[in-house]
């Protein structure tokens, strides 16, 4: 890792550690939710590495939240066991769902994942076991043994913030390493050309499933962290509206880089708080922002540096070289054929 990167990450973490003391009480809560959402979007991006976009991520987050809450409430399991189990159950659910879902690709996968997700979510509000539409209340908060202080109930925002920050950082580290390992490389390869990957022996089904399962594990962890902080969950919290927000965060941020979705969620969440005064108009801001990003940065905010670089380079080029003979040609037919990567269709 280059030195500059280490320094900047160090600075960011120093700021993150000091931050709660500079914040007002409700902003501390905001930070906790935001940090959890960072894990949600970054894990969602792992899915998109293989080129698939799902609409079930938030439901799997809910699965983690429900599992952990119910285990903690009904059999009194410790948070330290129920939380990872929440992740495991979400991952297992994803594994199970991968069999029907990965028969589909692209748009069909998107819609298929939406169908299963919504059916699962409706079952929470339908069956008493999950608490029905009211959901689960009075979810216990985690306890931690701190030397010198004894057993501590971690429910106040600052300690919980550090707990969340630690777990999410670990999650991010894992996701980062995974992406930069050969496995991540292979997932990326599947995204670009799944047939080529298959032809050199990559079992694309296996890798898609792996990405889905791991992403869901972290979504489940995120859900559990949320549940044990708020103390209550209900099916509406994990509905398609929430999913749409995750999708927006990820896409506005951009999926080309690890930090893209993080930029998306941080920026939009802060904007959302800033526009709280606008009350009824708040979603309008979202809508317009979304359209603007798609119009000017269709690959997300993280494509901005590259665009600027491109622009500079082009400017340099056109200054130095007479580019008249090299104007890039456009296959701008009136036809609606999408930009297939074909070369010479003869």
């Amino acid at each position: 890792m280059p030195f500059r990167k280490i320094i900047s990450i160090g600075v960011i973490y120093a700021a993150l550690l000091a931050l709660p003391f500079a914040l007002k009480l409700h902003q501390q809560d905001f930070m906790i939710i935001l940090v959890i959402n960072v894990l949600i979007v970054v894990s969602y991006r792992l899915m998109t590495l293989t080129g698939e976009f799902s609409l079930i991520h938030v439901v799997l987050m809910g699965a983690g939240a429900y599992t952990s809450s119910l285990l903690a409430k009904t059999i009194g399991l410790s948070f330290w066991l129920s939380m990872p189990l929440g992740g495991v159950v979400a991952a297992l659910l994803a594994l199970l769902l991968s069999f029907p879902l990965f028969r589909m690709k692209g748009f069909y996968f998107l819609i298929g994942s939406f169908a299963v997700g919504e059916a699962i979510r409706l079952s929470w509000s339908y069956f008493d076991f999950f608490g029905g539409p009211k959901g689960v209340k009075l979810i216990p908060s985690p306890h931690l043994y701190i030397p010198g202080l004894g057993m501590q109930d971690i429910w106040q925002p600052i300690p919980y913030y550090y707990l969340v920050l630690t777990i999410v950082s670990l999650g991010l580290l894992v996701l980062y390493r995974l992406e930069h390992s050969r496995i991540g490389l292979t997932m990326n390869a599947i995204h670009w050309r799944d047939a080529l990957a298959e032809s050199v022996g990559v079992d694309t089904w296996r890798y898609r499933t792996m990405a889905f399962v791991i992403a869901s594990f972290f979504a489940g962890i995120g859900g559990a962290l949320l549940a044990h902080y708020i103390g209550t969950i209900n099916p509406v919290m994990f509905d398609v509206t929430t999913m749409v927000y995750v999708l927006i965060w990820v896409i506005v941020g951009g999926t080309n880089t690890f930090y893209g979705p993080i930029i998306g969620v941080v920026l939009l969440s802060i904007l959302n708080e800033m526009f709280r005064e606008a009350e009824q108009l708040r979603p309008l801001v979202y809508g317009i922002l979304l359209l603007a990003v798609m119009r000017f940065l269709p690959n997300g905010l993280d494509s901005l540096p590259g665009k600027i670089r491109d622009y500079r380079r082009r400017k340099l080029d056109s200054d130095s070289v007479d580019a008249a003979g090299n104007a890039p040609s456009q296959a701008a037919s009136g036809s609606g054929q999408p930009s297939t990567n074909t070369i010479g269709p003869n």
């Binding site: 701008a332 010479g344 003869n346």
Partner: protein, 236 residues
């Protein structure tokens, strides 16, 4: 001069598909482009019909520049393109396909007359007029595709691999049809073919394309026995 192409270049992404091609078509003429896969034959036709725009060079049709026009404008000027693989509309009936060929025309009565003419010309299509195009055989689909193009009453017809995937008997029939279209309707034809024998036999003039450039050109009869052609095809 009906069509004149001056040194056009076409790039897909950054790769050059055509590296400077020039050719000419006279009124009522029939020329052919032959060459192996990837030589740039289809790209040339797609560039003429406006599906692709050249990065360099000009295309003139009856003296007017058309290299920046969209396909519907090019068609209105009188150039019809029968694409590779037929590309008929599978969910429409044969007759609906044919009528769509005349989509740009406003002269309703003349369209009906031409429809009758095309159906006379292709009795097989009349038999299957109300059948879904997807249920037709390959040869019938090819006829439909040519018939559809004729419905726009073109001055110039671009034919891309009309014999592709067809059995020899059908190929023969298609060849006859192309000849008739050229002679009887007075339509100029640019024919792209793998089947060089067929193409050169029909045409007045031929161009042999190799990797985006014209390797050799000349009167079709002269090209027939040309070593260059044989080599391009069979590696002699």
């Amino acid at each position: 001069m009906l069509l004149e192409i001056q040194d056009i270049q076409v790039h897909y992404n950054k790769v050059a598909a055509l590296k400077g091609i020039s050719l000419k078509v006279e009124e009522g003429d029939m020329i052919t482009l032959i060459g192996s896969n990837g030589a740039g034959k289809s790209t040339t036709l797609r560039t003429i019909s406006g599906l692709v725009h050249p990065s360099v060079g000009q295309i003139r049709f009856k003296g007017q520049r058309i290299d920046r026009l969209s396909p519907d404008k090019v068609l209105k000027l009188g150039i019809a393109h029968v694409p590779e693989g037929r590309r008929i509309f599978p969910g429409l009936t044969a007759i609906e396909n044919l009528r769509l060929g005349a989509f740009i025309r406003k002269d309703k009565q003349a369209v009906e007359r031409d429809l009758e003419r095309v159906l006379d010309h292709f009795p097989r299509l009349r038999e299957r007029a109300h059948q879904l195009a997807s249920t037709m055989s390959g040869g019938e689909q090819q006829m439909l595709s040519i018939g559809r193009a004729l419905m726009s009453k073109p001055k110039l017809l671009l034919l891309d691999e009309p014999s592709l995937g067809l059995a020899p008997v059908i190929v023969k029939h298609i060849k006859e049809i192309i000849g008739e279209v050229n002679r009887e309707h007075g339509v100029a034809v640019v024919l792209v073919e793998q089947n060089a024998e067929l193409a050169l036999d029909l045409s007045r003039y031929g161009y042999v394309l190799e990797t985006g450039s014209i390797a050799i050109e000349g009167e079709a009869k002269g090209l027939m026995g040309n070593e260059h052609v044989r080599r391009a095809y069979l590696g002699l």
